[in-house]
């Protein structure tokens, strides 16, 4: 089941983890976890593309992938199936959820 459907069923919102910061470094966007402790001698960043950035910025305002997908369709050039967009948005949200970059909140 889509994350936003779960959120809807549970009557909760999908919200961003406040410790995840979006940075732009030379034409690339990264999500950076500022609570990472680097103990494995690695600095891991999550690179996202323009669409990922769009979704990330919409999460707090819209809270569910259905609404984000409809907004995304409006700015997408060409005929794209809204259900496909919804599915892709949800896949991205699922990834963020697994990483604890977003969470469910009342």
């Amino acid at each position: 089941m889509h994350l936003y459907l779960i959120a809807k069923k549970e009557k909760v919102m999908i919200v961003k983890n406040k410790n995840i910061i979006l940075r732009k470094i030379y034409k690339s966007y990264f999500l950076i976890d500022i609570t990472e402790n680097y103990l494995n001698d690695e600095c891991s960043l999550i690179e996202i593309n323009d669409i990922g950035k769009f979704i990330w910025e919409e999460i707090d305002a819209n809270g569910a992938s259905g609404q984000i997908a409809r907004k995304l369709k409006k700015v997408t050039v060409g005929a794209v199936d809204v259900f496909q967009i919804e599915s892709d948005v949800d896949a991205f949200l699922q990834m963020l959820y697994k990483l604890k970059f977003v969470r469910m909140a009342k």
Binding site: R23, K24, I34, N49
Partner: protein, 372 residues
């Protein structure tokens, strides 16, 4: 806008070499070191800032402006240094501001003034690295170097607190005559803490070009004795021995060769305690006050990679160029001429080269140095 299937590309990536290479190619300012203060709670005999400790430091607002500029320009890594960063009562506020902007932040410290409440903040928002300077392996040596009694015990205690808090630290030591015999003890200390230890023999004149600190500099012969026991330095020396010095041949053949062999001006810069943006910590003479002129200054730094050695440059045609550490920026600071060379060091570089090229044994090299 890209097609929606690009979502597939949103995979977790490591901060990889591809990005580093790209950023180097386009001269993306990636890393900045900011000298938060000239002040220090220690008064080290060899310190290049020993005459600056009473000078004014930038205000919180000035530093925040600089951090904001770094953010706008896409800098990712910030390193805070001093002086001693913990002499600023607002250091943790500055640190947190940078963290919450999304920088990857580290800092240098002598670890004397680290309070438990600070450690709690670092636990929640960890630094990339807390790089701690050691000035000996006991309280007596610490007192001789820093002028502060009982400092060693406090520093070790604080190191252990940071480690126990799960924070990533490293130990480093600027080796001077007072601490030369304690390298192995400091290394053992780091080993017992399971953290990295590195040391350097580099001692610089003060920022006012007072060469007093050099009286504490270890002799070249003693440096060499330690160098050939240190795995990192052995690796560097062996690597240098494999480099065909094409630059020297080019120079001899009349082909212009670069003055700087380092990456100065490519991806990093340094902000001194007065707010001047410099190519690196050694190149303060090229510093300019940073206001809203970042791009202008950054473009000036781009020219450094294009500077060619003059026909009189002795280093450019020297086949020991990779076996000595003469830095044009430092030489410009000391003598006003980036192409000046400390001739007394040339003969030692030749001996080092012979050793690493397996033309001399360690004993032969040391004996030769003793006779120079």
């Amino acid at each position: 806008m890209n097609d929606c299937t690009d979502i597939d590309k949103m995979n977790i990536i490591k901060f990889d070499q591809y990005k580093v290479d790209l950023w180097e190619k386009v001269r993306q300012p990636l890393s900045a070191t900011i000298e938060l203060t000239p002040r220090c709670n220690f008064n080290c005999v060899h310190c290049y800032m020993q005459n600056c400790h009473q000078k004014p430091e930038m205000s919180y607002e000035e530093l925040i402006h600089i951090i904001d500029v770094c953010y706008e320009k896409g800098v990712l890594f910030l390193t805070f240094t001093g002086g001693e960063v913990f002499t600023r009562n607002d250091f943790v506020d500055i640190y947190l501001y940078a963290k919450k902007k999304g920088f990857v932040v580290g800092f240098f410290t002598n670890a004397y003034r680290i309070k438990d409440e600070y450690i709690e903040v670092f636990k929640e928002y960890p630094p990339l690295l807390i790089d701690i300077s050691l000035y000996g392996a006991n309280n007596e040596t610490y007192f001789k170097v820093t002028g502060v009694k009982g400092a060693f015990d406090i520093v070790v205690d604080n190191c252990n607190k940071l480690i126990n808090a799960g924070l990533r630290i490293a130990l480093k030591s600027p080796i001077i005559t007072y601490t030369l015999m304690e390298i192995s003890c400091m290394r053992e200390l780091a080993h017992s803490m399971k953290v990295d230890f590195r040391f350097s023999f580099d001692i610089s004149p003060t920022l006012e070009n007072d060469r007093g600190p050099e009286q504490y500099e270890v002799s070249v012969k003693d440096m060499f004795k330690y160098e050939i026991q240190d795995p990192i330095r052995i690796k560097e020396g062996k690597k240098a021995a494999t480099i065909e010095n094409g630059y020297a041949q080019d120079f001899i053949d009349g082909i212009p060769t670069p003055l700087f062999l380092c990456k100065v001006g490519k991806n990093e810069f340094f902000i001194d305690y007065e707010g001047n943006m410099c190519p690196c910590a050694s190149y303060r003479t090229k510093g300019e006050k940073l206001t809203n002129n970042f791009d202008e200054i950054w473009e000036k730094f781009a020219t450094l990679q294009k500077v060619k050695a003059s026909l009189n440059n002795k280093c450019a045609k020297c086949d020991c160029r990779y076996f000595c550490k003469v830095c044009p920026a430092e030489m410009e600071s000391i003598t006003g001429n980036p192409e000046a060379i400390p001739e007394s060091l040339c003969k030692f570089s030749k001996i080092r080269k012979s050793y690493f090229k397996d033309l001399l044994s360690a004993d032969e090299a040391i004996t030769k140095m003793e006779h120079e």
